[in-house]
Structures are given as C-alpha cells and as structure tokens.
C-alpha cells in the first residue's frame, strides 16, 4: 500500500501516543491502592484516560492509513510538506539542554547567555560575536531586574559577588 507524503512519520508519532496510553494503563494496573475503603478506586480515572487515548490513537492510525494525513501548522491542506531541518532542531534542543546543565553549576548568567547564543546560531545569525555580546548584556540586565527589583531568586553561580 502506497502511503501519502508524511504518513509514515505521523504513524510513528500517533503510534507513540498509543504507547503512552499503554504506559498509563500498565502503570495503573501495577499500582497498589491504599488499604482503606474508597467508594471509587483511584484507578478508575487513569484507566478511563488510558483507554480514551489508546482508542483515539488507534482510530487516528486507521484514518492515516486511509489517507488523512496532517497538515503542519502554517501550511494549507495540499501544500507540499518539506522535510524538517533537524540540524537546527538539534541546535535549539542542545541550547535548551545547555541551560538545564549549567543553571545550577555555573549560574543563570552563564546558562542563559549560552542558550541565547545557541538559539541565534540555530536561526542563522551571521554575526556571532555581536550576538554573544548582545546576549550577555541582555541576560545580565534580566538577572539584575529579576533579582534586585523583583526579588526572584536566580543562581549567581560563577558571577557571585560581581553582579
């Protein structure tokens, strides 16, 4: 059977949602509710949600196999679907993970500056030095505004005592 463009990847996505439903079902089945008597078991609602998700995903899988393929946001039905540029996707994702790894080790200023720079690279900025400098100044300004004026706690990290 020849599938329309984009169908295979959508099948993988909706299939993973079906698997998510299975995971919820399995987690609910293996959990032990407390011994005290409850009129309604705490398992009822999760079971219903799991079955709801599995049922809908299965129905959508059938619809995709019959040719109902999703139109990505920003396109009109019938427009050719270009392949995603995963190099940029990975660059953005890596920038997000850099924030996660650095925030409590090196502090907010370093973490957010690295993320800022990474995102500008992913969006094809042609002047990296200017982006790095602007990002740093922007992040320091946000840091001062939030910590000094709004009393929001953000880790200073290696800049402790400087800012």
């Amino acid at each position: 059977m020849k599938l329309p463009q984009g169908a295979k990847s959508e099948l993988t996505f909706v299939g993973s949602l079906f698997a998510l439903g299975l995971l919820v079902f399995w987690d609910t089945a293996r959990s032990e509710p407390p011994a005290f008597n409850l009129t309604i078991s705490p398992k009822v609602f999760p079971y219903a949600v799991a079955l709801f998700l599995m049922g809908l995903s299965a129905f959508q899988i059938i619809k995709i196999l019959r040719g109902d393929v999703a139109t990505p946001e920003g396109l009109n039905p019938g427009d050719p679907i270009e392949k995603s540029d995963y190099k940029n996707f990975v660059l953005v994702l890596a920038s997000l993970f850099a924030f996660l790894l650095l925030i409590e080790r090196a502090g907010f200023i370093v973490a957010a500056s690295v993320t800022f720079f990474g995102i500008t690279v992913a969006f094809d900025n042609k002047k990296p030095l200017r982006a790095a400098l602007f990002g740093f100044i922007f992040v320091v300004a946000i840091y001062i505004f939030f910590t000094q004026f709004l009393n929001v706690a953000l880790p200073a990290g290696i800049f402790k005592g400087f800012v």
Partner: protein, 498 residues
Amino acid sequence: MSSFNSLLEGFASALTLSNLGFGLLGTFLGTLVGVLPGIGPALAIALLLPITYTVSPASALIMFAAIYYGAMYGGSTTSILLNTPGESGSVMTALEGNKMARKGRAGAALATAAIGSFIAGTIATAILAFTAPSIADLAIKVGAADYVALMLLAFTTVSSLLGSSAIRGFIALAVGLVLGLVGADLQSGLARLTFGNMSAIEGIETVPVIVAIFALGEALYIASRFKKEGWNILPMKGKALMTRDDWKRSWKPWIRGTAIGFPLGVIPAGGSEVPTFLSYAVEKNLTKHPEEFGDGAIEGVAGPEAANNANAAGALVPLLALGLPTSATAAVILVAFQTYQIQPGPTLFLTDGALVWTLIASLFIGNALLLILNLPLVRLWVQLLKVPRPYLFAGIVTFALLGSYALNTSTFDVQVAIAIGVVGFLFRRYGMPITPLILGLILGPNLELQFRRALQISAGDYGTLVASPLSKVIYLVLFLVLVGPLVWNFKKKLALKK
C-alpha cells in the same frame, strides 16, 4: 453589599499611586511582548508571569490585568502591520487590517482596532462585573455531577472546534489529561506515572507546560522549518487617527462585535475564532461598501477586534464564576490566579471578594491606560517589529526557561519544559491543536475530583452523573455538538452526490 459598591471599593483599592505604577508597567510590558511577531496573548501573559511572582496579590492583579490588555492590543498591531496573527482571533484583523496598511491606511486600522478594543473591553467588563456574581450565586447550587457535565462540555467544544479535525483535538485533550495524572492522587496518596521520581510526586506545574508548549515548541518548529522566511513590515505613515468617515463606519461594527463576542465567550465555544469569524461575516453582509471587503474594509477590522476583546472578557465569566477556562488565554489567567493562591469558582466572590473586585476594577483601568498610552506610542511599537528573528526567538526562549526555573527554583520544571517543548513541536508538525492539551492538564484533576465526589455522595451509583435536570440539558447540548457536524457533513455529501 451590591456589585456597584463592591466595584467602587475595587477601584479604591486599585487606584493608589503604586498600583497605578504597576498598571503602567504592565501595560508597557504587555504591549512590548504582545507586539512581538508570533506571540499571542496567552504566551505573552505566560512569559510575563514571573514578573508578578513576588509582588503583593493586589498589585500583581493590576499589573496582570494591564499585561492582559496590553498583550491583546500588541497582537492586533502585529496582525495589521506584519500580517502574522499571533492567535486565531486576530486572523480576521490581519485579513482586512493588513490590506488597509498596504494602502497607506495603517494608522486608521490601528486606531479603529484600539478604540474598538477599548469600547468592547469596557462594555464587556461592565457586564462581567454585574453578571459574574449572580452566576456565581447560582453556581453554588450546582452539584458535583453537574460540574462533571460542564467540564465534559468544555472539553468537547474546545477539542472539536479547534484544529484540523475533531479527533486530533481529542487526542491533544487526552495527552493533557495524562499530564494532569502525574503525581500523588490527592485522596489516596497513590503515586501515578512518577516512576520513582520524587520531584514528580507533587505533579506537573502548569506554568512550565504553558510557556514551553507555546514558546519552546514554536522555537523548535520555526527553526526546523521556516527559519529562512522573513517578515514584510509595512511602513506606517502619519498618526494613528481616524477620519470622520472612519468613525461613522466603525461605531456600529464595534457595538455588534461586542454583542457577538461577549456571549460566545461566556459559553464554551472554543475561544475567539468563532466570534471573530462571525463578526466578520456579519459586517460583510451589512456593509454599504461590499467592494472593499477583502481589499481593506475598516468594518472588517473594527467588528472582529471588538468581538475578540469582548470575547476575552466574556471568557472571564465562566472562569471567575465556575473556575472553568474556555480558551488558552483564560487557562493562563487561571494559572496566574493559582500562583496568587486564588482559586476561581462559585465561592470566589465570598472568599476573595476584595481581590476579585480589585481585579475587575483593574480591567477597567488597564483598558483605559492602554488607550491613553498606546495610541501616542504606536511608532515605538512599530520599531519593535524590526527585532531580528534570531534575537527575538533567543529572547523568548530565555524568558520561557527563566519562567520555568524561577517558579520553584527547580531543574525538574526545566526538564518538564524541555520535554513539553518537543511535544509542542510534534503537535505543530502533525496539526494538533494546543489549547485542548492545556485544558486537559488544568481541568483533568478537577474533573476527577468532581467525578469521585459525585460518586461518593451517591455511594457509587453512576446514575447520579445524569440525574439532575442541568446535567441532562448539558449532555443534550454535548450530544448536539458531537453529532451536529456529522449530520451536516453527511447531508453535504448527499447533496454533492445528487
């Protein structure tokens, strides 16, 4: 005490010098973020939530109301000058407003949008002030089973009306319900979907989910697909002013837009898409200048903009009186309330009456500040549209991560945000709407609570869910919402065959 007196007290509390300062700051920041391309009011408000974390509840609410209106106004500026509506409610504004801007009438389009939004916002907030308490009084009598029915109706309308197909909307809702399950069950303490992670026991915070699904999801999506596409900013000549003829052609659409937008905000009709489309259709039918429609008709901006703002205020009625958000923006507002330890619902006017009236008064003040501040400053906002895309997205992502982390100073929330950002990317790629996911996450735990409460009261008799007259009516409406489109499509197919 009457609503009028309570409202006056709300004004007294809101109109202090420091609170007005917060209001001005909120208006400025709300417009500043709302005007940035691709950012709708829901994301603008979510991004600015951390600013209100440490301010006193009354000041925070005033600032928040100003941010709310500022973000709405900022969105219309972007739609008119850039043709990039940040949300579905601005699509119609973009359609006619951008055409007006192309003809050198950007100033008139921006003015009719701003004044129309002000008039609609003021009328709708006044109706809200005098109807929400009465609805809340009635809502106290609404039982747990009726709440279950109401929430199911909200889920159904929002899921089936948004996105490319109802089934995709319901899948998005189901994913939101799964996210809402994570953590310890409040009644039994049973840990669900935590897989031994102690940080997950308290459940998934809604703020990181909202900022991530909008901001991080959008950054991942645009970077991987549309990063090379630029924006074509239209120049704005002269001031944001209207001629006598513009006024004559705008005032009736403003009133009609308000009349359409408000009631459709009160009932869960899937956000601002339906009322703005409806208002546009009405204006197109009633206009004396049909040749201008599709080519820059001022009525096509005035009506939908008023409908959009009245709809946003209308959505506050079920939110304040019942605790039911019916759009993405209303869902973000609910989260904002919860960060100030306020739980919207029937008892809100009794438990936090002073604060709610301060909020309602703040909505009036925020709306007025917006008009006073923004029409003269429109050139400043136009400059913001020139921010290069790499810097724009880098700034948005930085704020989103800051908001996620600062809520509990926890890296677990950042992990959740990154994971949800990827989900947001996948949802955009596969045409799934985002609002049902947010509603599922926020209302899912509440639905389960009311469901179990109803069954506990009836000692496990499931018949109680459909026993009351109100729940019967709601299920009938729900049935019509589900079956109506199917019958309509079937009839259309039959007609085509013939």
